[in-house]
C-alpha cells in the first residue's frame, strides 16, 4: 500500500465557471478550477503522482516548476482544508 489521498465527500457541491463550492457539515470551502479538478480526481483513493498526471492532461504543464510539485502544493492545501484526507492506495 502507498500513501494516497481521497476526497472527503461534501454534503453538497455546486460548480461554477470560477470554481466550485463544497459544503461540509459546518463550513463552506471555495475551490478554484484547479482545486475542483483535484477533488474530481480524488473520488477514489489516488496518489499525488496520479493526480499530477490527471491535471497535466486537463490543463497542460504548469508555467513554472514541475506538475508534481504544483500538485503536491494543491494537495497539501486541500488536506489542510479538510477537502482531502489521507487514504492508502494499492501499490501499482
Amino acid at each position: 500500500m502507498s500513501d494516497g489521498v481521497r476526497l472527503v465527500p461534501p454534503v453538497d457541491r455546486l460548480d461554477f465557471e470560477e470554481g466550485s463550492l463544497l459544503l461540509y457539515e459546518r463550513r463552506l470551502v471555495s475551490l478554484s478550477v484547479l482545486g475542483a479538478a483535484v477533488a474530481d480526481l480524488s473520488a477514489t483513493p489516488t496518489t499525488v503522482a496520479a493526480l499530477a498526471e490527471g491535471l497535466r492532461e486537463a490543463f497542460g504543464d504548469p508555467a513554472d516548476g514541475s506538475a508534481d510539485e504544483a500538485t503536491a502544493a494543491v494537495v497539501a492545501a486541500l488536506l489542510a482544508l479538510g477537502v482531502l484526507e489521507a487514504a492508502p492506495t494499492p501499490d501499482p
Partner: protein, 263 residues
Amino acid sequence: MSVLLVGGLACRTPVRLTGSRAAELDAAARVAWARCLLDVGDAADPESDAVVACLHGPGEEPDGASATGTELASVLQQLTQQVTYAKIAAQTGRLLMLHAGAVAGADGDAIAFVAPGGTGKTTLVRRLGRRFGYLTDETVAVDADARVHPYPKPLSLRGDAAGPKAETSPDDLGLVRPPAFCRLRRLVLLARSDDHAGPPRQEALTRFEAIAALAPETSALSALPRPLHWLDDLLAGLAPVVRLHYREVDTVLDTVAGWLERS
C-alpha cells in the same frame, strides 16, 4: 410561574418564566415580545423546545433555567438568545435561516440584510422599519418558495456600553407591521465600516461569490436537502446580490427605499 407562547420563525416556543420575581419578568417579557405572543391553540405552526427564564433574588437558586439572573435586563437579553436558538433548532432542515434583518414593502416584497452580529443589521432595520414592515432584526427564515416567515422579536439596543442590551419592543419603536404574506425579493450583504470613505458603494457579486459569502451567514444550512442547490435556486429568483459598503446608515436609506418601492 407563568407561560408565554412565543410565535415567529414559523414555530411556537413555550417560555416558562420562573423565580421569585417571575411576575416582574412576565410583565416585561409581554411588552418586549408583544408582536410574537400567541394565544394557546391559536397557531398551527410546530412547537419548539421550551425555554425557561428565571428572574430571582440574591442567594436564590435558579431552577435549571437557560436564562437566569438577578437583573431584569440581563435575563431578557438571555431570553431573546434562547428563544432564537430554540426556534432555529426547531426549523433546522426545514427553512433556510440567514443571519439577517429584513423589512417588507406594502406589497409584501421583502429585502434581507445579511451580516454577522454587531455589524449594523439592527440599526438599519430599526431605521427602515419606521417606513417599511419590520420582519426581524436577526434571523430571516425563508422557505423554498421564497416566503419569509417573520420573527418580529424585540430589538436588542445598546444603551449603557457596560450593561446588557435593552430588549425593546418593535411597538415601542414605532416600527411598521408587515403584510401577512411576504416574499423575499432581494438579499443584500452589509459591509458597514468606520473606514469606508465617500458615498455608499454597491459591489455586484457573481452567484459563486454570493453563495460563498452567504453560506457562512446561515444557521444549520447543511441540514437542508441539497443545501447549496436550495440557496442557488432561491437566488435565481431574486435580484442580483450586492454587497453594500457604507459607513453611516443614513447614507443608504434612500437606496434601500428605492429598491423596495421599485420591486
